[in-house]
């Protein structure tokens, strides 16, 4: 195992897949000469040249569509959005073209492509630049939606995404790029659609994904001091969702908190809770509680931003409530 950052893990996944398959190319704003707005593509232009690492104008809708066209006729594009906030401009190509092409063509045109970039809030970036989009994208049949929370998952899942024959939405945590973790040295893939038990526990399950995995782990550490044993299920893939992993854990702990970065209404957590009530109705000892961003656009002011975001304190309170401790 090597210790590397989430960013380095992504870079190495890109590098390995670019080296492995000439049909793979990376396209997006500032990905080449600038080495990436968040430096995920650092060094790739030098290594693979401008044919494979392509700087685009600021034209999200346009270059997402270019990716779709290239994928239709045999390439395997990796389209980088500088952040997913800007990908809103490209959603027509993602949703109306990429997600439906195979279906509309009766199976004739596959979409082996990845749309990737940082998702979610960072610090004080304000309302237009602090948004987590997984629930929107996971709503769409025809897409796969991944949200890695650790460097090892980031690498293994990105490699799988690039090798997948379907359009994969790959949501990176903007605040995760500098986080470190162990990453296997050998060439490895992580199965899309498989959740990961990040921590075993007995008393309550926290189902989460992406950036919130770190928060869940902190919560588990903190509650361990009070002899509360938390199990953390990291979904890793939002669509297709690993219902079995969720059910197995909740059947064991009989309690669940669902933690996500995005908003409450029609959020990812709403879907998780639906699966839980279907699969674990008789196992539950308490209603499931959700922790999420407050139902407001992200404010800029530091104190309001902190109050708006889901965090360890809110999650601990939710766990205690689910356990009838408060």
């Amino acid at each position: 195992m090597a210790v590397m950052t989430y960013r380095e893990a992504l870079t190495s996944a890109l590098r390995e897949e670019l080296a492995r398959d000439d049909r793979v190319f990376l396209m997006g704003e500032e990905v080449a000469q600038y080495n990436g707005a968040y430096k995920v593509s650092k060094g790739l232009l030098d290594e693979f040249g401008p044919r494979r690492i392509v700087d685009t104008p600021i034209t999200e809708l346009g270059f997402a569509g270019v990716g779709v066209g290239a994928a239709m006729v045999g390439l395997r594009p990796v389209v980088e959005f500088m952040t997913w906030n800007f990908a809103l401009l490209a959603l027509d190509e993602v949703v109306n073209a990429a997600a439906k092409m195979l279906y509309m063509s009766g199976g004739q045109y596959k979409m082996p492509m990845v749309f990737r970039g940082p998702n979610g809030s960072a610090l004080q970036l304000g309302a237009q630049h602090s948004q987590a989009w997984e629930s929107w994208l996971a709503h769409i049949p025809g897409l796969k939606v991944l949200t890695p929370g650790t460097p090892a998952d980031a690498k293994g899942l990105l490699k799988s995404a690039i090798r997948d024959d379907n359009p994969v939405v790959f949501l990176e945590g903007e605040m995760l790029y500098n986080t470190k973790g162990e990453v296997p040295e050998e060439d490895y893939l992580i199965r899309i659609g498989k959740a990961d038990l990040k921590r075993e526990g007995e008393h309550c399950t926290i189902v989460t994904h992406g950036k919130m995995v770190l928060v869940a782990m902190q919560v588990a550490d903190a509650l361990a001091k009070d002899d509360i044993s938390i199990e953390v299920v990291d979904l890793r893939t939002i669509r297709p969702m690993d219902v079995e992993a969720i059910a197995q854990s909740v059947q064991k702990t009989n309690r669940a908190v669902v933690l996500e970065e995005g908003w409450e209404i029609c959020g990812v957590g709403a879907q998780v809770v639906d699966f839980i009530q279907r699969e674990c109705f008789d196992d539950l000892d308490a209603p499931v509680i959700r922790v999420h961003q407050e139902d407001v656009p992200m404010p800029y002011a530091k104190n309001l931003e902190k109050a708006a975001k889901p965090d360890a304190a809110k999650t601990i309170a939710a766990v205690r409530k689910v356990m009838y401790l408060d």
């Binding site: 034209t59 610090l123 970036l125 407001v296 404010p299 002011a301 104190n303 309001l304 708006a308």
Partner: protein, 352 residues
Amino acid sequence: MSAGAKPAKERKSAESARAEKPLPEKISGTDVAMRKELLRSMLLQRRFEEKCAEAYALGKIGGFCHLYIGQEAISTGTMSMLRPDDYVITAYRDHGQALARGISPRAIMAELFGRADGCSHGKGGSMHIFDSATNFLGGHGIVGGHVPVAAGVGFAIKYKDGDQVCVCFFGEAAVNIGAFHEALNMASLWNLPVIFIIENNRYGMGTAISRSTANEDVIVRAKGYRMIGESVDGQDLFAVRDCVGRAIERGRKEKRPTLIELRTYRFMGHSMSDAVAGTYRSREELEENMKRDPILLLHQFMHEHDELSEGELSKIDDDAKAAAQDAWDFADASPEPAPEELWTDVLAESES
């Protein structure tokens, strides 16, 4: 006008300079008093933003912060031609334009500090300065997103039979985004009084215009939409005023839109997290362009025409510095927004 970029020491005495260059009564509608006011406006922006950089380094300003330093002749030149009832809309590089439009430095700095007395009550931040009192319709964070919004403002002006104009600022990199084209087409098709101003500082983040734009001569895009297009030196305050003035006439009288390209240069990095030079643009290029500092150019012009003593200049500059410091002190003393503010302004109070 040619300001002549000679250092002060080499300059001839003010007397002989004046004899050589008889000064017309008015230059693009300005007299001496107004030129002093314009200089004051630009210096205020400069000193204010120098303070912003300081505050950012101390963590008092967070998030993305894009400075306008180097482009002040555009904000000052344009705003000085507008009426109070005209409208202004812009992108995230909005502090200079907000100041030039007359929003109080205190309210802007408090916004940047995320405080209750900020012009958006701390909810917007650097990229989202709004002020309904001056018809300042915001700083917007998505490249090109506000350009059709400007067309909508023009639509409403015409709908209500008004004679205002709406000025819309954006960078040259925004001309490649679909929203720009859609907006220009509608503005021309429907005869909307909108002035679209491309601030061509030659880089969209780290990408030079030559690497992003098939035809670097961005003003030709006006033609595609049967619109008058004008391209002038954006470092020359008088040229900016004249050009914007013509566009305003066209907007008020003929209800026709105009596309303007103002050629400029940003003296700082794209945002506070971007290097000033050395990566995508050379230090030499930066220094070459800094010789055409719009403040320096106006100052030199006034100095050559003996309109401004050193004492007056220092006074204007000291006042600008004091205003920036005052804004800082005010922002620092302003409270954080009350916790319940998190929940306000999500929806308008409306029962229907």
